[in-house]
Symmetry: C2
Subunit: 228 residues, 2 copies
DNA sequence: ACCTGAACACCGTTCAAGT
DNA sequence: ACCTGAACACCGTTCAAGT
């Protein structure tokens, strides 16, 4: 926040305050949020932080480490509010929806966790799911498989959202025209060979991601209740 | 298959038969299968096909196009056998398991479809799911959401398998020690703060991916049957 | 039409050298 | 300890030139 004016000076302005891992991660998050995954390059990061490569590699192992830590940071704040003193069904919907919304707001986080689902940052999520399944009466032996299935579903949706966001960023479409394009392609499918796909094209163009996500969670919950 | 012997000759042996898109895709698939996603570089491809960059770009738009076509090719063969004249529940398990197994054998395909779930190659899969849901008595309006949820689940598992395979390829672990490492980390979670995760560590180390996948499908099917 | 391969514009990462 | 930035070893892609 200090040497803003020094822009075309001798060489690089050289920051007065010292760098920290937190500062680096924060800058990375902002770059990822505003420009997507491809916007985070080491070069761009050195420019933004007016520093050199070595400074960054001193605080962070490599780019993968940086991405993972950035994703952890984003998700860390989300998993706090959800507690289990309401109806477990409602709490489970809220918990999964919280993760959905966080990833919807930061699509690159979805891609990252889909790559590394065992990250410590997801521990709180697994724990929350597991406890609520317990509260729902799912027997201990089935709880692990059920939790895994639910997490996989959430991350599957997350990965898809991330990829949609990336495709949209590539062209300059907004969400609506993007979906309409996909729907048009589905509608072109041969009605004799692909009756379902052809018929579903309309719904594809109109559907709401968030609502459809919740329908999936509800199907899961309904199925899980048969495990009791 | 002709000029094998000419290895250290004048410059490059220059192929006698002409290149084709099919040949390129086939070579890409073999490289991806044996060396993972990072093994497919344009350079390596020119060497393997003893040709130049331009030849490849003449048959294929760019690397993304090549990857997508390779994934399509792998999946094309899989979706054939599954028909619906048995019990729809059994057929749905077989259909999803077919995709699971194909992706398990070619993890990079999972990563690719998780990125591009609207690829035409998945049309047959959507169609099969949609029809079987119809046979199960799921009403038309709910069928689209249910199919989407199921596909998301399958692709979520697929993406995770792909990432596990990549992590394992990085180090030299086999599946078993890889899972045991993850299980050890889960076991180290604070039992007071993370009782579920701590208790689930044992199952994480012992579980079978394929079986757990099917449990998830069954939960889905059970949940879906409540939509009737 | 089909192919060659040098050249270009990028990457992430390293490391001797500075403070 | 913390940082600099030139250099290195790669990428994917282009394009004038060849057949």
């Amino acid at each position: 926040m200090v040497n803003r004016t020094a822009k075309g000076s001798a060489r690089s302005p050289r920051r007065t305050d010292s760098l920290s891992r937190e500062l680096i991660i924060q800058a990375a998050i902002e770059m990822l949020d505003s420009g997507g995954e491809k916007a985070l390059t080491l070069r761009a990061l050195t420019v933004r932080l007016s520093t050199g490569y070595g400074a960054i590699y001193h605080h962070v192992k490599d780019k993968g480490d940086l991405l993972a830590r950035a994703a952890d940071e984003v998700i860390a704040g989300v998993m706090s509010g959800a507690v289990a003193d309401t109806d477990p069904r409602t709490a489970l919907r809220a918990l999964t929806l919280g993760l959905f919304d966080a990833i919807d707001a930061h699509p690159w986080v979805g891609a990252e966790f889909s790559r590394q689902p065992w990250r410590p940052a997801l521990l709180d999520f697994y724990e929350g799911v597991g406890r609520l399944l317990d509260a729902l009466g799912v027997p201990e032996k089935a709880r692990f498989d059920a939790a895994g299935a639910l997490v996989n579903y959430v991350l599957g949706v997350a990965a898809q959202n991330a990829s949609n966001a990336r495709l949209r960023a590539g062209s300059d479409m907004d969400r609506k025209t993007f979906l309409e394009n996909a729907a048009t392609r589905w509608a072109q499918a041969d009605p004799d060979r692909y009756p379902f796909v052809h018929a579903a094209a309309t719904q594809l163009g109109e559907h709401d991601d968030r609502e459809q996500f919740l329908v999936g969670v509800d199907i899961f919950l309904a199925g899980i209740s048969t495990l009791g």
